[in-house]
Amino acid sequence: MTDDKDVLRDVWFGRIPTCFTLYQDEITEREAEPYYLLLPRVSYLTLVTDKVKKHFQKVMRQEDISEIWFEYEGTPLKWHYPIGLLFDLLASSSALPWNITVHFKSFPEKDLLHCPSKDAIEAHFMSCVKEADALKHKSQVINEMQKKDHKQLWMGLQNDRFDQFWAINRKLMEYPAEENGFRYIPFRIYQTTTERPFIQKLFRPVAADGQLHTLGDLLKDVCPSAVAPEGREQNEPRLKTDSRSEQE
């Protein structure tokens, strides 16, 4: 992992310039100016938008405010998806900044999970980390860690501390010298064109003959429609992957 340090840093510090605008039907006491923010790709909307919330709540009455939610071009944004994933899935072909609409009423119960507190985000994040480790190490590494290590992982993400995060995450990204990789690769493939939200399957990093699997092997195996047949170079699938222990 040490030679990948530059890549890890670039992934961690990736940002998306975003413009937040209040939904026109929200009731305000005066005009609400848009709010601009650089969003971290690796984080979650509800974790990094406290300032956005405060900014718009300043021009609204308390009784007109309930749970905040975000929307892009009519699509409610799932806060439990990493920000970079949401952007890549929905807005990567549009011009920057990413224009997100902010809502304080009519929470879309059928589409979005509630986010009652920061604890809910932490629980979701840790649940993803644990599931990934179930695939990589049969949960041995995550279960051997102390609660304070779990907390450090979360605090690292919450406070944008690369070193603090990776001090713990590197243990989740190791495998025994005699093995050639993890037990299974934790991955999820998201496409806008499919019914189901993502594809997730068991996939070993090493083939039966000992050859290391490539990303292309994985795609051909679990998502053949995304890969062009050999020899044709059309619509190269663009992949964004994060080398966090979390799946996406």
Binding site: K78, H80, E109, K110, D111, L112, L113, H114, D119, A120, A123, H124, S127, K130, E131, A134, L135, S139, P186, E195, R196, P197, F198, Q200, K201, L202
Partner: protein, 250 residues
């Protein structure tokens, strides 16, 4: 007030593949569906157990169905259930037995299951539509119970509304670690919010159940046993005939 039910205490887990290979023929047969030798409860086994479970459900009209995914061998089990909670039947503290406070509507009122025909009865009672989905988690290699509840007008029930309807027996245990036990999550196939019983402890309580059945040489359907443990916690009860059917299978 009943005490929280104690789940079988976890026993040290012997390597499952080896332990089961020497088991009786009844257990070995469903294990042969495992794709890989280190898969204790693989997806094929899951599908097989669900098929057996649904077969019995059809015999007794219990409403479980299998849904397959388009262009895929994957699928899940589901059931829709209506419950009425009449105010008069609320149990009060002092009762030592775990009395069921929610009556399945089809028993209480003999109404048809079609949701267009079910209506709210008196002002004191509420009709709630529950949907239960049993999916397979390839990460944990166990089944996972997803559920959601709504009033007849479509308004979904919040987690706290669901807590209130959870049986007293289970509340104390669940309240200790709510985030570990029931959480709201995105259904991995439908992409909509559901509540989920977290799968990571499933292994802990299922292993002793399966070991015991091996010891007493009695066939068991993993899904039947598992659902009979986790179901009642969220208002889902299995008639006893499922257990008899499981021991007759294979």
């Amino acid at each position: 007030m009943g005490t929280s039910p104690r789940l079988p205490s976890p026993m040290p887990v012997a390597p499952p593949a080896l332990g089961w290979a020497t088991g009786s023929g009844a257990e070995r047969s469903w294990l042969s569906f495992s794709m890989e030798e280190d898969e204790f409860f693989g997806e094929k086994t899951f599908q097989h157990c669900c098929a057996e479970f649904i077969r019995h459900s059809q015999q007794i009209g219990d409403g479980w169905e299998w849904r397959t995914l388009k262009d895929s061998s994957e699928g899940y089990m589901c059931k829709t259930h209506f419950q009425i909670k009449p105010e008069t039947l609320m149990s009060h503290s002092g009762a030592s037995a775990c009395v069921q406070t929610c009556l399945p509507i089809e028993e209480a009122l003999e109404l048809p299951l079609d949701d267009s025909e079910v209506t709210e009865t008196t002002t004191g009672s509420q009709v709630i539509k529950y949907e239960y989905h049993v999916l397979y988690s390839c990460s944990y290699q166990v089944p996972v119970l997803y559920f959601r509840a709504s009033f007849l007008d479509g308004r979904p029930l919040a987690l706290k509304d669901i807590w209130e309807r959870i049986h007293e027996c289970y509340k104390t245990r669940l309240l200790q670690e709510p985030w570990d036990t029931i959480t709201q999550q995105e259904h991995p196939i439908l992409g909509q919010p559901f509540f989920v019983l977290h799968p990571c402890k499933t292994d802990e309580f299922m292993t002793p159940v399966l070991k015991n059945s091996q010891k007493i040489n009695r066939s068991v359907n993993y899904i039947t046993s598992w659902l009979s443990v986790v179901g009642p916690v969220v208002g889902l009860n299995l008639p006893l005939s499922y257990a008899r059917a499981a021991s007759e299978d294979e």
